[in-house]
């Protein structure tokens, strides 16, 4: 079998294996959703009125804050989901099964590609679930066109792909699942330092550049723009550049790690 069909076939097999894991152990995936859902409920129902008052632009109430916080939490869900990917990649590496894969005449990259595609699909599913919770408590998109919905989905997939490649690299360099979970922690913490919960210009001046240009903020602002019609500006391009950069970096890092001799 020539190279490309082989790659596609083996990657599909590996993807099926990862989806089987996810289906067999849904609690793992659902646990990862707990953080964004809890934060959503916490910030809307407990802190909501105060947070809304801080949004500025005249009198605002809790429903305004729901609209503000949901795009950030949807992307935080992606960060949370790929932590699970780092853990499962690390688990895979410490199990003998990966050594077996390496001694088989299969397409080498398929092991990783299976993880990446599986993780992106899981991220999309997770975002849909968290999005459903958001809609249930009153989140509504303000007149987004079908094209904007499509762009939002594309943004989601691109962002998930970028974070997944980084998470796969983290999983590969981690000696065990606990270490992988710790190493991937920044993917959950970064959204807290973005415009997800409060606007960047409400932050201390010295910190604003950090918050404004880290990968989450441009992506959140872009998603906000697509779903709620706010100004996107340069954030669209910034998001695409960040995502492509992280994806390429993660890809090179992961494949180099995977192809080197196991220690």
């Amino acid at each position: 079998m020539s190279s490309l069909p082989l790659a596609v076939r083996d990657s599909t097999t590996m993807l099926r294996r990862n989806l089987l894991h996810a289906r067999r152990y849904p609690s793992l995936t659902l646990n990862l959703l707990l953080t964004p859902v809890m934060l959503l409920l916490l910030f809307v129902y407990i802190f909501g009125d105060t947070m809304a008052a801080g949004l500025g632009d005249g009198p605002a109430d809790r429903s305004d804050y729901i609209a503000y916080i949901v795009p950030g939490l949807l992307l935080m869900t992606v960060g949370s989901t790929v932590v699970g990917t780092a853990v499962s990649v690390s688990n895979d590496m410490t199990e003998g099964i990966t050594a077996r894969f390496r001694t088989m005449a299969i397409h080498r990259g398929s092991v990783i590609v299976g993880h990446v595609i599986g993780s992106v699909l899981q991220s999309v599913l997770s975002v849909v679930l968290v999005g459903a919770v958001a809609v249930a408590i009153g989140f509504r998109s303000t007149g987004a066109t079908p094209l904007e919905w499509l762009a939002a989905l594309a943004l989601l997939v691109l962002f998930a792909t970028a974070l997944t490649w980084i998470a796969v690299g983290m999983g590969l360099v981690s000696p065990n699942a606990e270490a992988a979970s710790n190493n991937a922690l920044p993917l959950i913490l970064l959204p807290l330092l973005s415009s997800a919960f409060v606007p960047v210009d409400s932050m201390p001046g010295w910190f604003q550049p950090v918050a404004a240009y880290q990968p989450f903020t441009p992506a959140i602002e872009t998603l906000r723009g697509l779903l709620l019609g706010s100004e996107i500006g340069h954030n669209g391009w910034l998001t695409v550049i960040w995502c492509l950069g992280l994806a390429v970096l993660g890809y090179l890092w992961s494949t180099a790690r995977f192809n080197s001799d196991p220690k």
Partner: protein
């Protein structure tokens, strides 16, 4: 006029006996720790080869190199007729590997593990199902087929592991310590499995720390010590390497032990266990002479065992310091 031609590489290869695995000067080191210090191997197709050695001798490293998991620092090797460095993918297509730690996916069932292997060997759906059912049956796993592999016992996991290895019909099978950690019943079951594999014409390369296992299974044995092959040959050839057997005398009374030790010259004494080891051919005349000497010294041994040379003797002779004269011992680590 006929022009003499150089033999092509293929005719040159035909002259030697077909080797399933051959290696020349394999080396591997991690930092300044040398794990393999020039390993030569020649394993005829259709035979069982045992690489015998204590923990840390380099057995697993050898298997990992020959199965394309690790790259050697030096030397070259062919497996199933393919060069490791030049055609690793062709080597992979011809081999099956069961590592020291079970290489099964614990999160999915035994049957799903088998179907995963079938998919990765690009079997059709129907063929995959057929091979899976057949191998699960053969390895007595049909009952447990629908249970997650993580719930299997050690012996079951090892059987599933080997069943998965067989999905692709490998011509050379590497088994790294296949019976380590198994109970006696599972160990014997594993031995039976290995014998059946060879009767199918497969070449088996196994590593073990158990001399009994090498003696039971292997056509040829190599003893690996400090990264070198200390000796190789059939079990019989290896046993011939060590001098004849001995009689072991055990005492409970230290006085009797000392009296016997002075009466029996040439015995090696162990003061801690109060045992004497006397070289002996094990014939009745030899034994009578030994007992007569004990009698005349007026001592009685509490236990007497006759020991004919076995692989244990070979093993200890080859792997304990001081090493063979030809092999300078490395500084103790």
């Amino acid at each position: 006029m006929p022009i003499p031609v150089m033999p092509t590489s293929s005719t040159a290869r035909d002259r030697t006996s077909p080797a399933a695995v051959s290696a020349l000067g394999l080396r591997k080191s991690y930092g300044d720790r040398t794990v393999l210090d020039g390993i030569d191997l020649h394993i005829p197709a259709g035979s069982v080869f045992a690489l015998l050695g204590p923990n840390g001798a380099g057995k697993t490293t050898t298997v990992q190199i020959l199965s394309t998991l690790l790259t050697a620092d030096g030397g070259q090797a062919q497996v199933a007729g393919h060069d490791l460095a030049a055609a690793p993918q062709a080597v992979r297509a011809a081999i099956g590997v069961t590592g020291q730690f079970s290489a099964v996916d614990g999160l999915i069932t035994g049957e799903e593990n088998m179907l995963l292997m079938a998919d990765l060997h690009h079997l059709s759906k129907r063929e995959g199902r057929r091979v899976t059912a057949e191998l699960l049956e053969r390895f007595d796993l049909t009952q447990a087929a629908k249970k997650p592999a993580s719930t299997y016992s050690g012996g079951m996991k090892r059987r599933l592991d080997i069943a998965m290895t067989l999905v692709g019909n490998p011509r050379v099978i590497f088994l790294d310590e296949p019976t380590t950690g198994l109970d006696p019943r599972s160990r014997h079951a594993m031995w039976q499995i290995v014998r059946e594999l060879v009767s199918d014409g497969v070449t088996v390369f196994l590593t073990t720390q158990y001399l009994e296992e090498a003696d039971e299974l292997a056509d040829r044995i190599a003893v690996l010590h400090n990264g070198r092959i200390a000796a190789h040959g059939t079990a019989e050839e290896l046993k011939r390497l060590v001098p004849g057997g001995h009689v072991r005398l055990r005492f409970t009374d230290p006085t009797a032990y000392r009296a016997a030790a002075s009466a029996l010259h040439g015995a090696s004494a162990n003061d801690e266990t109060l045992t004497l080891q006397v070289p002996s051919s094990g014939t009745s005349r030899d034994l009578r002479r030994l007992l007569d000497r004990l009698d005349s010294a007026g001592v009685e041994a509490d236990e007497l065992t006759v020991h004919t040379p076995d692989l244990d003797d070979v093993f200890f002779a080859l792997t304990s310091a001081p090493a063979l004269p030809s092999q300078p011992e490395e500084t103790a680590r």
